[in-house]
């Protein structure tokens, strides 16, 4: 009972603030609405017993990526762009596409016979994640660091003004 209530509240927070993100005409408000969206998703992770992923979600999404997005908004148009039209002429088409996809996805997902596993997830997963990363998925782990390195280099080159 409590779980269902929590799920409904968290999904409502997530989806409502996501709607603000995608529809607000003020770009700073849409960026700020990302924070409740991410926090709502964090709550959903908690319901799914992914405690560590939830912590990382707050740390990376709410604390880092949002800040980066706000930086870029302030460094480019910022407030000077507040009165500029934010949407292009494809709005009806986009609504149609998104709605069709939503109906399709929800219809399929609701009917698909998902297998149910018998066993349960362990209560606390942080150490399990560590073990998985360092044993079975070690290649993923090392390749991730390479991806990070390349992204760092590329972004520095692109963003910097060469003198």
């Amino acid at each position: 009972m409590g779980e269902l209530a929590a799920f409904i509240i968290l999904s409502a927070i997530t989806l409502a603030s996501a709607v603000v993100v995608v529809t607000s005409g003020n770009i700073v408000r849409s960026a700020l609405s990302l924070v409740p969206t991410f926090l709502g998703v964090t709550g959903l992770y908690i319901l799914l017993q992914a405690e560590f992923v939830a912590g990382i979600q707050v740390l990376i999404y709410a604390g880092a990526i949002t800040v980066l997005i706000l930086f870029v908004i302030m460094l480019t148009e910022g407030g000077t762009g507040l009165r500029v039209r934010q949407t292009n002429e494809q709005v009806p088409l986009s609504i149609l596409a998104a709605a069709v996809l939503a109906v399709l996805l929800v219809g399929v997902l609701a009917q698909a016979p998902w297998p149910r596993a018998a066993e349960l997830l362990p209560q606390y997963t942080a150490s399990g994640i560590g073990e998985a990363l360092l044993t079975n998925l070690v290649l993923v782990f090392e390749v991730t660091s390479l991806v990070l390195l390349v992204a760092l280099m590329g972004a520095i080159i692109v963003a910097r003004r060469e003198r």
Partner: protein, 321 residues
């Protein structure tokens, strides 16, 4: 286990912790700051309200409660009003994982240390949008500076947290305190991490010598220039809550938390916490302000590499010895 009962308990605890923060961290903190400042500079500090000026900040709070709320016409009002709330709540949430005593912890989260870092990083968003929404040049510059400073020092802070977590083998704050019962205070084993943590914590809470964002002599008051009355007080509350949380975390991670002979645990905890707070205030009244480039160099070119290398050294010793 009844959920209703737990919710009532949680609400009660929230009110208790919030009141604790407002009284012990913000009011007493500001008073201490002024008293210690006066003492260091050979003057008296607040003296007139109450015995020895003890009620000065109470009077200030009552005054602030009666002040009119003014938002600049050019400001983005909705964001302007939200920003102080974000900062205050982020400061409050830090305290969930702080153990005041063996059983005096709101919740011993399994990922306590990560949670602490995550909540500390949320403050940045509040400060940045607060500065932006004011639509004031000083505020905006202060907000941007503040944000870039806080994100720069979050990483050294995280490396210090990780070094301690490695030594203790757990991320839970309670577990870290218990680990120190066997291996001695981590301030000895992890001294470099302690130094990094203290410096980064000072910078995280925007205090001298890292107070560029609110440099009174350059930027009026930084990101909260336009905030008046209670909203200003909320920013202050968030900042002091954050500062005390950093001191409490330093106590938990490095000074053995509540452990100590004879006196009850809570007293020990508060003593150690106030020791760190005193250290922070002492720094404030002793050092001059850094330049922005010095500040960023310190973080990126010294503390971050040092922190990462210290993690490797710790890992090496634990693995091979």
């Amino acid at each position: 286990m009844s959920w209703g009962l737990e919710i009532v308990k949680a609400v009660g605890l929230t009110i208790a912790v919030f009141t604790f923060l407002a009284v012990v961290a913000a009011m007493l903190g500001v008073l201490l700051e002024r008293k210690i400042g006066g003492w260091i500079q050979s003057r008296l500090g607040p003296k007139h309200v109450g015995p020895q000026g003890l009620l000065q900040t109470v009077a200030d709070t009552i005054k602030l409660l009666q002040k009119e709320h003014i938002a600049p016409r050019a400001a983005d009002t909705a964001i302007f009003n939200t920003a102080p709330l974000i900062v205050a709540v982020a400061g409050l949430l830090d305290w969930i994982v702080i153990p005041f005593g063996p059983n005096l912890i709101v919740r011993d989260l399994n990922i306590g240390v990560v949670f602490f870092a995550a909540m500390a990083s949320l403050t940045v968003v509040g400060i940045l949008v607060g500065g932006f929404a004011s639509n004031n040049k000083y505020s905006l510059l202060g907000g941007l500076r503040s944000a870039s400073q806080m994100i720069s020092y979050e990483l050294p802070l995280a490396t210090a947290l990780i070094a301690v977590a490695m030594q203790a083998g757990t991320l839970s704050t309670l577990g870290i305190v218990n680990a120190q019962a066997q291996r001695g205070w981590f301030v000895f084993l992890q001294f470099p991490a302690f130094v990094i943590f203290l410096i980064a914590a000072t910078a995280e809470v925007n205090r001298v010598p890292f107070d560029l964002p609110e440099a009174e002599s350059e930027l009026v008051a930084g990101y909260f220039s336009e905030y008046t009355g209670m909203r200003f007080a909320l920013f202050q509350l968030g900042e002091y809550a954050e500062m005390f949380a950093m001191a409490a975390m330093a106590t938990t991670l490095f000074l053995g938390g509540w452990r100590g002979p004879i006196l009850p645990p809570v007293i020990w905890f508060l003593l150690k916490m106030y020791l760190i707070v005193f250290l922070l205030m002492w720094t404030r009244w002793t050092f001059p302000r850094l330049r922005l480039d010095q500040l960023l160099n310190l973080s990126w070119k010294l503390l971050l590499p040092a922190g990462l290398i210290w993690i490797l050294i710790t890992g090496f010793f634990i693995t091979f010895f």
